[in-house]
């Protein structure tokens, strides 16, 4: 229930008004940027499509008769899809993304998955977050692992900020922060007790030690970003008024203010379309496409689009065959979208054959670790052997 009650309004307005008034502590080694700040290097925007996106109805094998057989009721009609290539169409709700495709700013990596697929939402997203395959029980996220051992991009403010959902790929040690709306974050920090550490403590050990570190780290993040936010203007951009739209607005606001952070994560929920899928899926993809388009526009205005790579991912695709309730159940491989000014446009990977279903599901063609490996290499020249898959076809994200 999201009724804005009078007390809630008072609470929120007490938080949202005025500039952030955090005490600014000059930390050793803190160099104040001259002129307008700008993020220093490549920026990865992770969009988690929570619930399991139906890849087959997103990037549609439009001419494949087997697709028609598997999807007699909920298949995307030929004249109701956006043509990308002869045999490949995009769901009609994704017009903005199709336009970016025409600009050469979109790569679709087909058939991304992993061996021994797990169909549990919760286990499979853990596998995606950790990036080490279905048998690994490592809890750390793939970004945390990639940025460990001194490999993190040298950025001023944080190594990553989560703007929606759980810490996911950024579980673990490192300069990883989380916030929702940026002004509310800064205001609420004032209620935290004074911090005990001058530099970011690692959130290690017992729950209490993790909380202690988090309390301090939140304030350290706040100090890092508040100066830049104050020095830049909060513009009124036109984002969809959805959860995803609001998260990407915050992402745009942080980057436009010059917050130097290489990874931002947002989430869009609702992809678990077991029944009555067509309308719901169209609604979700429209929101996704519009939010991405709005974000791309702001990034272009800010001169940052060439530094940005957006990556969408989901815990799994869905069953190739529709069920009797106009929906699909938990499946396996699915396409991943990479979008950005320097992204090498086009299709990559290989389309899973609809003749070669295993247990009724698609077989992955691109191991997701290859995707992570290529992303880390192309964006930040990080060589992370943890994610190398021997014998895998090479993948290139940036052109």
């Amino acid at each position: 229930m999201s009724l804005i009650t009078p007390n809630r309004r008072r609470f929120l307005s007490a938080l949202g008004t005025g500039a952030a008034t955090l005490p600014l502590i000059t930390l050793p080694g803190f160099v104040q940027a001259a002129g307008p700040a700008k993020p220093s290097g490549n920026i990865l925007i992770l969009i988690e499509l929570a619930g399991g996106n139906d890849g087959l109805n997103t990037v549609v094998p439009i001419t494949d008769p087997r697709y028609r057989n598997l999807r007699p009721e909920i298949g995307i009609a030929r004249n109701d899809a956006l043509t990308l290539e002869t045999d490949t169409s995009l769901h009609s709700a994704m017009r903005g993304v199709a336009d970016l495709w025409e600009d050469g700013d979109v790569q679709i990596v087909e058939g991304v998955g992993y061996p021994n697929p797990n169909r549990s939402h919760f286990r499979s997203i853990e596998i995606w977050n950790a990036g080490l395959g279905a048998n690994s029980i490592v809890r750390d996220g793939w970004i945390s692992t990639a940025f460990a051992e001194g490999r993190a991009p040298q950025t001023e403010d944080a190594s990553g900020i989560v703007l929606g959902g759980d810490m996911g790929p950024m579980v673990g040690n490192g300069r990883f922060s989380a916030m929702r709306e940026e002004e509310i974050f800064l205001e609420t920090l004032e209620n935290l007790p004074g911090r005990q550490h001058a530099v970011r403590p690692e959130p290690l050990g017992s729950p209490l030690e993790q909380i202690l570190a988090t309390y301090d780290n939140a304030q350290i993040t706040g100090e890092a970003i508040s100066r830049k936010l104050e020095a830049s203007r909060d513009r009124s951009w036109n984002f969809p008024e959805t959860e995803l739209g609001m998260q990407l607005r915050t992402a745009a606001r942080l980057l436009d203010a010059g917050i130097d952070v290489p990874v931002l994560k947002v989430v869009q929920d609702g992809y678990d379309t077991h029944d009555a899928q067509p309308d719901e899926h169209a609604h979700l993809l429209k929101d996704l496409s519009e939010a991405i388009t709005a974000f791309a526009k702001v990034m272009k205005q800010a001169g940052l689009w060439d530094q940005v790579t957006i990556l969408t991912y989901s815990e799994f695709g869905r069953t190739a065959r529709e069920n009797a309730s106009y929906g699909t159940d938990h499946g396996t491989a699915a396409p991943v979208f990479a979008l950005g000014g320097e992204v090498q446009g086009g299709l990559s990977g290989a389309r899973p054959s609809l003749d070669n279903l295993v247990d009724g599901d698609l077989s992955y063609t691109t191991d997701y670790r290859t995707l992570y490996h290529a992303t880390l290499r192309d964006l930040w020249s990080i060589d992370a052997p943890e994610f190398a898959v021997s014998g895998a076809a090479p993948l290139r994200i940036l052109g």
Binding site: M1, L3, N7, V162, L192, Q210, I211, A218
Partner: protein, 697 residues
């Protein structure tokens, strides 16, 4: 400064002394705080004082004695009212429809406030912790169905079985209408099964992910659940739709048979790997974030030896060495509700409106009845990141220092919300026919060579001293044969009407009413009361149906949402012909037709008159919110920080006693600040509440 509250009672426990040595036969203040807050929400000084010196066994027995007592305040009455007319409300005008659904969300708000108030004031907080545990375990979101009666009944079911037998819980949740909708089992039929409920039943409700089942078992489970669905015309009932049920052989966990949903429960709970997943979850909730595998195994054996009864398991859990081990203090992160309700109970905070707790809980990501997904809410340290840490600190500050206290000393036992007026009530004579509302949901207009008529519902029917929820009818006029018939659907009639034709739960019936000569002879079971009701309905049918003129309905050959306004002329003509034929056979009803309701909330449209008069629905709702405050007053409140300190048990430095009463582990040294806040109770309490250590228990 701690906000001013009203004194209801002042602790008299201040003089009790604390034994110097902890032993199982005599609990210390610290142990009392530990037991109370781990099995409940926080611990108030008077609760701690009351338990000092008891043995572990007696104290655990005392805590468990509150189970099975039922809630201290009644659940809102509408939970047990007639099922709201979800299946017809859309035929009314837009504002009525909007208000109908808004009212359901406001009822959810009322139900949530009721539950939060129960958590804050119950003498058995363990009951509420267990209800929370199960509502997280069997996660189910109101969003999926918007039916607060289902949500209320589900909460009642979970509290009835909270410390009962797990087999009852598992079976009940597989046959719970809200669950069947939430996990799509109402769409699970044999031609292409929907796996959602089958999978989550194994993965999340019983065995646990990766514990002894395969994708083939998931498919078999889905097939066993085919056809378990809801008959939702009238009062929704969970039924087995025989046609949708896959009666074939299935193989699950290596066993083959013509299994159904009931077999799914028994086969799963008999699976050798069933047990540890549930026991571990209880361990992580009540004991420690560190799993002790030997203890999990031991407890699982004990639980199974008790046929999955939860009480012996819980009792043993609370008496394990690990539960009392000091190394496990502070190892559990408070969920937002534990933090909010715990703070309310610990400091005896009264509040002018318990509904404020709802949006605060939402800010923190834990709104009751609205879990984020079927996995429930986050657990343990997943609750804590930089975003939630700052949100927790600011909402705590707001709760303790800024929220308005109650201005009454005694909260009313029942929360009023529907004093908004509602549907007009009338009293009718037993011989009159009283009808609340007539809905037309599907009509067939006159067309060359076709029959015409439609589907109508008489809602809130009173006759012969009885009140019925609804009677649906199908009216049909065949122009070629010049014959009009009426089929009466008895399935939505609650309590039973047309008792000569009892409702079969699986196949709610129709009574055909064809007024040709001697038709009554073909209905040998008809009672005098049935006959009188038929007579009354037949005589007034044209008048009744004429009221639906202009409402929205589906029309034949244009069967598409959302329907469109219809003209009643044609089907009223059919009703006239029917009436004339019927009266020739069984005579005319000699009573009056009275329009009006038996209960102002029968339609679920409380406040309709004001809403129609207001310039917008939002305007009306804002005023209504202000009028519907729900005061919350804990059992014991404290006048101020000083009074709270005075109620602390034991001797020794006050600041140390306060810290021990509130925190499971010592907080970090405060240095100079410590000196400043000793002697200033409000500053001391603030520093305790906002310390990181307050986030763990």
């Amino acid at each position: 400064m701690l906000r001013k509250t009203h004194i209801i009672a002042i602790s008299v426990f201040g003089l009790m002394t604390t034994p110097a040595v902890a032993s199982p036969t005599s609990m210390t203040a610290d142990e009392a705080r530990h037991l109370i807050s781990r099995t409940g929400f926080g611990a108030a000084p008077h609760e701690i004082a009351g338990m000092i010196g008891m043995s572990y066994e007696d104290a655990v027995a005392q805590i468990m004695s509150g189970l099975d007592q039922g809630p201290t305040r009644p659940m809102p009455a509408w939970v047990d009212d007639w099922a709201y007319p979800f299946e017809q409300i859309w035929t009314l005008d837009q504002r009525s429809t909007d208000l109908f659904y808004t009212n359901r969300w406001l009822e959810l708000e009322q139900l949530t406030a009721w539950w939060l108030a129960e958590m804050a004031t119950t003498p058995s907080p363990l009951t509420e912790r267990l209800v929370m545990f199960w509502s997280d375990h069997f996660a189910n979101s109101f969003d999926a169905h918007e039916n607060p009666q289902w949500t209320g009944k589900q909460n009642r079911f979970l509290r009835t079985h909270a410390a009962g037998n797990f087999a009852d819980l598992a079976d009940g949740m597989l046959h719970d209408p809200a669950m069947l909708v939430y996990l799509d089992n109402t769409q699970n039929f044999k031609d292409a099964p929907n796996e959602n409920l089958g999978r989550e039943f194994l993965e999340l409700f019983t065995l646990g992910e990766g514990r002894g089942y395969t994708q083939d078992d998931v498919r078999a489970a889905a097939r066993m659940l085919t056809g378990t669905t809801i008959q939702d015309h009238g009062t929704p009932r969970v039924i087995l739709d025989e046609e949708g049920f896959d009666a074939g052989k299935k193989t699950i966990f290596g066993q083959t048979g013509r299994f159904d949903a009931n077999d799914l429960v028994s086969l799963t709970l008999a699976h050798p790997e069933f047990g540890p997943y549930i026991v571990e979850k209880l361990w992580l909730t009540f004991v420690s974030d560190q799993i002790d595998q030997a203890e999990i195994d031991r407890l699982t054996v004990l639980w199974k030896a008790n046929d999955l009864d939860l009480k012996p398991l819980l009792q043993d859990l609370f008496l394990t060495d690990a539960f009392w081990d000091k190394a496990n203090r502070g190892r559990l992160v408070k969920s937002p509700l534990e933090m909010l309700i715990g703070t309310t109970r610990t400091f005896g905070l009264s509040m002018a409106d318990a509904r404020d707790l709802i949006w605060i809980a939402e800010e923190l990501g834990q709104q009751p009845f609205l879990p984020p997904n079927v996995g429930g809410w986050p657990h343990g340290t997943a609750w804590i990141n930089e975003a939630t840490a700052s949100a927790r600190a600011s909402t705590l500050t707001y709760l303790v220092y800024e929220l308005e206290p109650s201005d009454v000393d005694v909260a009313p036992p029942m929360m009023a919300m529907t004093d908004e007026g509602g549907s007009p009530i009338v009293a009718a004579n037993p011989g009159d026919l009283r009808i609340g509302q007539v809905f037309a949901s599907y009509v067939e207009m006159r067309e060359e060579g076709h029959g015409y008529g439609g589907s109508f519902t008489l809602y809130d029917v009173g006759f012969g001293g009885h009140n019925w929820r609804s009677i649906s009818v199908w009216l049909e006029h065949d122009e070629e044969e010049n014959f009009t018939s009426l089929f009466i659907y008895t399935g939505d009639c609650e309590p039973d009407c047309f008792t000569g034709f009892p409702i079969d739960d699986e196949e709610p019936g129709w009574v055909a009413y064809m007024p040709y000569d001697g038709f009554l002879d073909e209905l040998p079971d008809i009672t005098d009361a049935d006959r009188a009701l038929m007579q009354a309905v037949a005589s007034h049918l044209p008048t009744l149906l004429s009221q639906t003129d202009g409402s929205v309905a589906y029309e034949y050959s244009e069967y598409e949402e959302p329907g469109r306004p219809v003209s009643a002329d044609t089907y009223v003509q059919a009703a006239e012909i029917f009436k004339a034929n019927a009266e020739r056979q069984i005579g005319a009803h000699d009573g009056a037709l009275v329009m009006g309701f038996s209960n102002p909330n029968a339609l679920g449209l409380a406040g309709l008159e004001q809403a129609q008069a207001a310039s917008s629905l939002d305007d009306y709702l804002e005023g209504r919110y202000e009028r519907s405050a729900v005061p919350l007053i804990p059992a014991v409140t404290y006048a101020d920080g000083r009074a709270w300190m005075n109620a602390l048990p034991g001797t020794g430095p006050e600041s140390a006693r306060a810290a021990k009463a509130v925190l499971a582990v010592p907080r970090a040294a405060q240095g100079m600040r410590e000196e400043l806040i000793v002697g200033d109770p409000d500053a001391l309490l603030r520093s305790l509440i906002l310390s990181p250590a307050y986030q763990v228990k």
